[in-house]
């Protein structure tokens, strides 16, 4: 088998694609992942991270069962990046609980709680709800209560990719598939544009698994196959700080479910759901979407508009192509599509799916691939833990031993579990790398260097996904130039590329900050302009250097 021949080539490095490459590699298949951008850079990078019990999907009991299984698997294989969150469903009128399928949901939910180790759907008295969450409207008459689990979607995807590499897979990011050629009985030739070198390269896979999410139909088309997708745009508002103690879910203006979750040091409000045919790279949140979310939450959290908005984020969901039904009646399950009946053998695609079932989607697809390859190999992704789960981390002891603040270590542990030790080894060698580089959370230089050396980032944006750099309230005001310098050092960038790296990162942040621009974020933005335009004079860089407009900048 030549170096460029693979058993399985996976296209797309989201949660599903990385789960597929991990599964395939763990079964001993020679596997390659091709991602056009970075790991978790599209749909999964814009989700809230909930690994849902499937409460809303009471009409799909089998899918609910699957969700429950998967929550338990993830808690086993990725315990260090999973956390529990109580969620309230406060109502101003009892009819909200007694109608709209909620009771059916309660019933189905209750059937599966024991396995997840949580109580059934509880109904709380208003005073209890207000004690839990003083931000609620004082006139709430009752509140539902459930418990859900959340995972860090970036870390999950990166860890799956890292684990796949550990099992022998090749993972190429910034490799955009440009052509698929079906070679009868041999497999599929895959051409891709290596965005780092500018070269077109070709590899061959006996089976190609198309996990390209909202681009999956385009990938299928390259091979002459047909894939229908129902694509919808979902936007979130990200507020500064945890303005709520626990999660809150409510009915939106149009009766859809919307939620507000404390997440890291922010609060997420989401989501919208709008049919879309746009290029996902060009999408930004609209004023209407922002107002839709605020209006929907104002009834239940009256002061929601007083909080500071950091930014918005937008993703595109690739749903199962069920048409002429409202969004919430479309199955949230997934389908593994074998394109062989269409005459394209060796190509497998996905439609639909949720973060919670990404591992299971991979399992089903790789099972099918094995069948095509004629190999009976068993899936082990639900048994083997992901990197970083080798035990407990003694923060107090390590803090003492390495003179790093408890908080910096605790944040590191939340991202990396036992991998913390690797970073501490670096610190032993380079004591000055203890310096904190970020003002929103204490990310130390050693962790940045470690991530650059081991987790294949090529840009500051890639580092952001791995370290949460630039995701806090200041949105990179103070870490961008420092982190870019470290990246430039490690990747040996020249001075011009260093300046462009700063520009690129600020552009990407601005994309999300601009739509809801108001309040204190104006002061933050004045400061950004003060640093990068007024002092660094980088606003003039646009003309002097070769700055490429980004897709969303080009369209307007």
């Amino acid at each position: 088998m030549s170096k460029t021949d693979y058993d399985v080539i996976v296209i797309g490095g989201g949660s599903t694609g990385t789960a597929v490459v991990r599964d395939s590699a763990m079964r001993g298949l020679k596997t390659l992942l091709l991602e056009r951008d970075d790991i978790a850079s599209a749909t999964v990078g814009t989700c809230a991270g909930m690994i849902s019990s499937g409460f809303k999907y009471y009409n799909e009991p089998e899918f609910m069962d699957m969700c429950t299984d998967e929550v338990m698997h993830l808690r086993k294989i990725a315990r260090h990046i999973v956390m529990k969150l109580p969620i309230l469903f406060p109502v101003l009128d009892f009819s909200e609980i007694s109608s709209g399928g909620v009771s059916k949901g309660m019933e189905e939910y209750a059937k599966r709680v024991e396995r997840r180790g949580v109580p059934p759907f509880l109904i709380l008295a208003p005073e209890v709800a207000l004690e839990l969450e003083p931000m609620l409207h004082p006139d709430v008459v009752a509140s539902g209560y459930i418990e859900e689990f959340f995972i860090d979607p970036f870390r999950l995807s990166v860890l799956q990719a890292m684990d796949a590499k550990k099992h022998g897979a090749d993972v190429y990011t910034y490799s955009e598939v440009t052509d698929l050629t079906v070679v009868e009985k041999e497999g599929i030739g895959v051409s891709y544009h290596n965005r780092l070198t500018g070269q077109i390269e070709t590899v061959k896979g006996k089976v190609v698994i198309n996990a390209a999410g909202p681009w999956a139909h385009k990938i299928a088309k390259l091979a002459g196959a047909n894939l229908d997708l129902r694509l919808t745009k979902g936007s979130h508002i990200i507020l500064d700080r945890r303005i709520v103690n626990v999660g809150i879910t409510t009915r939106a203006v149009d009766r859809r479910w919307v939620y507000m979750y404390p997440h890291e040091n922010t609060t997420l409000i989401g989501t919208t759901d709008l049919p879309t045919w746009e290029n996902p790279d060009e999408l930004v949140a609209s004023h209407d979407e922002i107002e839709y979310l605020f209006k929907s939450f104002e009834w239940i959290v009256p002061s929601v508009r007083e909080a500071r908005i950091i930014r918005t984020m937008v993703g595109v969901r690739p749903m199962i192509p069920t048409w002429k039904v409202p969004e919430d009646e479309v199955s949230r399950s997934f389908e593994v599509v074998d394109h062989e009946p269409q005459g394209v053998s060796g190509l497998i695609s996905f439609t639909g799916g949720k973060l919670v079932v990404c591992r299971r989607m991979a399992q089903d697809a790789v099972d099918l691939a094995c069948e095509k390859l004629g190999k009976g190999l068993d899936c082990r992704t639900h048994i083997e833990p992901l990197p970083g789960m080798e035990g407990d981390v003694d923060i107090l002891g390590l803090s003492e031993e390495h003179s790093i603040s408890q908080h910096a270590l605790e944040r590191m542990r939340i991202r990396r579990g036992t991998e913390v030790q690797e970073i501490l080894n670096l610190v032993r060698e380079y004591p000055e790398w203890r310096s904190s580089m970020c003002t929103c959370e204490p990310v130390i230089e050693a962790e940045i260097r470690y991530a650059i050396r081991n987790e294949f980032p090529h840009t500051l944006n890639d580092l952001r996904r791995r370290l949460r750099l630039g995701t806090g309230p200041c949105q990179g005001t103070f870490c961008t130039f420092k982190a870019a310098a470290i990246l430039a050092e490690e990747l040996e960038l020249n001075g011009e590329d260093y300046q462009l790296e700063i520009m690129d990162f600020l552009s990407e942040r601005w994309k999300g900050k601009r739509p809801p621009m108001r309040g204190e974020q104006l002061a933050q933005e004045e400061l950004v302009q003060g640093v990068y335009a007024c002092v660094a004079n980088l606003d003039q860089t646009m003309n002097e250097l070769d700055y490429d407009l980004k897709p969303w900048e080009e369209v307007s």
Partner: protein
């Protein structure tokens, strides 16, 4: 499951996930953090950072931005958050006036509740005293010893002892604070001398209790609220119209409590009472010549100038300048911490020392013979710190310094 069981379960989950729901009166502070734009001006001006570096104390920005991070991680800030002296410089320089001092208290309260093991032991001892005695310091075992100590102090300062007055419906409640009540008793007596000199209708508390500031600073929110409640009841029972205190911390905390808990009674520091109620003219008329000319500088307590108003530093200067033979010189660091703030000295004396060093140098540079402070706690700290450096500068509480220059009754 019954309703109680549901409730217990939920509270158990919150405990497990280390989520402490914000109280309603904390919400404003929580939202205030949202104004932080991470600029770090506070870091540049923080006296603790200047004294011991960012590595030891990560500074106000870190507290506002990082440490106030999600509730489950409050505990991980235990090695930093107890090192804040609460001086309020951060809030004052902040373009957005982010309430960092209040945030510090909130975080401490959460650590105290969820991880008491991370609260410095010395603070637990203070907490024990507060719980047992309702005072920041263990009271004298023998009241005769206490009186003897008081009389010795008064004799040295040439101040009289007036009998204690406790009565209902007096105009003013004089609240000396724990330090003046139990330790620097001369300040308590000086306060009385000042009030008597202007024939103020005043009363003391029959049964003194702490205002709760130490409990707030060490994170025992429950005890702080208990103490505030007791005090409110006692003040209410006495039916006074105003409160006057000689302590900077008490002034600021009582002002806060009066507003938060609806006491509906204004709180004055002696300085404010003299300037705003008595008037500088009446005060000047009564001030007598002391034996020799004194060159004086004033130390401005953080709790007066930054937690209340900078005008109060000007009041102090105005009063010294009105004294017939006192020469006032301003120290350029008159507004920097005495080393006693935030109860840091209890558990990390090296940090307290680091914070106060520049202040002491600035006092020496003025060349004065005496530094006065409108707060018995600041006075005690500066005295101790100066003594350690072998300085010859003498230290007095400002109320004592004023009382010494007022006519005494027979």
């Amino acid at each position: 499951m019954t309703e109680e069981e549901d409730y217990d379960h939920i509270m158990g989950v919150l405990r497990e996930e280390r989520i402490t729901p914000y109280n309603e009166d904390e919400l404003e502070t929580v939202l205030s953090i949202g104004h932080c734009i991470n600029c770090g001006l506070c870091l540049q001006h923080c006296p603790v950072v200047a004294g011991v570096g960012v590595e030891r104390f990560s500074g106000p920005r870190s507290i506002a931005v990082e440490l106030s991070r999600s509730p489950p991680e409050f505990w991980a800030t235990g090695d930093k958050v107890f090192l804040c002296t609460g001086c309020g410089t951060c809030r004052e320089v902040c373009p957005k006036n982010v309430e960092v001092p209040e945030i510090v208290n909130m975080i401490r309260a959460r650590i105290f509740e969820h991880r008491p093991d991370l609260v410095p032991q010395e603070l637990h001892s203070v907490d024990k005293t507060l719980l047992e005695h309702g005072l920041a310091f263990a009271p004298w075992e023998d009241l005769e010893d206490k009186a003897e100590s008081r009389d010795m102090r008064l004799e040295r300062l040439n101040l009289p002892f007036y009998p204690n007055r406790v009565k209902e419906r007096a105009e003013v409640l004089f609240y000396p604070g724990c330090q003046a009540e139990e330790r620097a008793q001369e300040v308590r007596e000086a306060g009385k001398v000042v009030l008597e000199a202007f024939d103020v209708d005043y009363t003391l508390l029959g049964d003194f209790n702490c205002c709760g500031l130490p409990a707030i600073l060490l994170g025992d929110d429950k005890t702080a609220r208990e103490l505030a409640k007791h005090l409110k009841e006692k003040v209410g029972a006495l039916g006074t119209k105003k409160i006057v205190t000689t302590c900077a911390g008490c002034t600021s905390n009582l002002s806060y409590l009066s507003e938060r808990d609806g006491w509906d009674i204004p709180v004055y520091h002696t300085l404010e009472y003299l300037i705003e109620e008595i008037g500088i003219e009446s005060l000047t008329e009564k001030l007598t010549q002391s034996e020799d000319t004194q060159s004086v500088t004033v130390h401005s307590p953080c709790h007066l100038i930054r937690h209340m108003s900078r005008q109060l530093a000007e009041y102090a200067a105005q009063i010294i300048e009105a004294m017939p033979n006192a020469e006032y010189t301003e120290s350029n660091l008159h507004d920097s911490c005495c080393g006693g703030g935030g109860m840091v000295g209890y558990h990390s004396p090296d940090v307290a020392q680091g914070v106060v060093e520049e202040n002491l140098r600035a006092i020496e540079r003025t060349g004065v013979s005496r530094v006065v402070a409108p707060c018995p706690l600041c006075t005690a700290h500066i005295e101790e710190m100066l003594f350690r450096t072998g300085s010859s500068v003498e230290v007095d509480d400002l109320t004592v310094f004023i009382a010494q220059r007022l006519p005494k009754k027979e």
